[in-house]
Amino acid sequence: MASYSTNEFKRGLKVMLDGDPAAIIENEFVKPGKGQAFNRVKLRNLKTGRVIERTFKSGESIEAADVIETDMQYLYSDGDNWHFMDPETFEQISADEKAVTEAKQWLKEQDICTVTLWNGVPLSVTPPNHVILKVTETEPGIRGDTATGGNKPATLETGAVVQVPLFVNEGDLIKVDTRTGSYVSRAKE
């Protein structure tokens, strides 16, 4: 199994920590005037999302995690699993609910997502930064009112609820920023 020495530590490196895959967020080298050097590291557990601090003796090695990020097309959900396809090999994989907790409200069939795989199994799914989704339910729009402020909730075809301007109607397509969950603009197909 591949491993990394502390002097290879850098942001983004994927390693095994306490049996879980983790990504290095921050790595600080500290050393007293005379004596042992340490690497003071912040990591994100890729299964739970929790941030952990851990100090290593400099020169120590740590097992690498077989974690890759790959672009895959979202196909459909059967309620228990979410199915994705590699657009080049047409190979299909399925992700369980844990992997899509954050992403599922933005997943639209055929959109290209980033799937993080650990030993070939989806760990998490990141939707595109921007998605275009249909409004399925909202209070009727106020025609012509494109200038004054004010928002209202709108339910989208994926079940997500976002705040939209008053002029948005049911059946409209809107562009949403999935990183913040906020409305960007109206959109055409």
């Binding site: 002097n7 500290v30 050097a37």
Partner: protein, 327 residues
Amino acid sequence: MTPPLVHWQPTASLQILQLRARTLARIRQFFDSRKVLEVETPLLSAAANTDPQLENFSTLTGSGKRLYLNSSPEFAMKRLLAAGSGPIYQICKAFRQEESGRCHNPEFTLLEWYRPGFDHHQLMDEVEQLVGILLDPPLTPNGSERLAWREAFQRHANIDPIRADCSGLMKCTRNHGISTTDRLADGDREGWLDLLMTHVVQPRLGRGRLTFLFDYPASQAALSRIDHTVDPPTAERFELFLEGIELANGFHELTDSKEQRQRFLQDRQQRSKAGLPLPPLDENLLAALEHGLPDCSGVALGIDRLLMLISGTTHIDQVLSFPSARA
């Protein structure tokens, strides 16, 4: 073919480069006015520091002889002192492998000076005077404190580092929310002390003023004298901290060649146990000590870190024209 992505630009601003030049000029002025002689010693040497926690760079001559890049100019400067140089200083590059981070670059600038006839307390006074005028704004009276090593742990980590055993030190790190890997959990007392120092004590030192730490434990004497008249014996060594950053390390220098050889051999033993390379002993230094090193104190001060503190920058790359990643 597309050329590879390069970062040819310096990481330090022009203002910082000017600050560096100005600071070096003021240091030279300071020592010139005090009749301390500027010297140069070789960066490449046939011998090297044996400190087990320090990894030397080395290179080969055309004829296959191994030479080491100096990790500090200490050994050669002591040979000058033994030859009768009187007080001397040097501004030079020093090289240490595997040291890279917010306050470390594998190649860095040191100011090192020696004062025959000074003990480490007198040298602390002079360090304070020099750093005091280089800081911006200059150091105010009462802008400096002297703190014994033991008291620093008591004050900032709430533990007596001399009485505490390994499990006590371990518990103390846990109480401060520091989580380590299993490999630290062995009976390595010095390792736990280093951990507490770097993670808990040091970040609290030098806040808003200079903190000189002194009376180090004999186990951390490095190349300093050990005072056996106190119990437990203490090393006549000091370090200077400002805003949690270690700026300088000084010794009332060990002059006994037999003890020096003993310490080198101990280092080599530790290196060999840890599977580290074994650089040759500096027989030139030992011969110079045998001939007679005057009673003196010496200190090394990190110029790059000093520039970080003067300029208020947070990463060493910001004060280096080209850090190792761009060198």
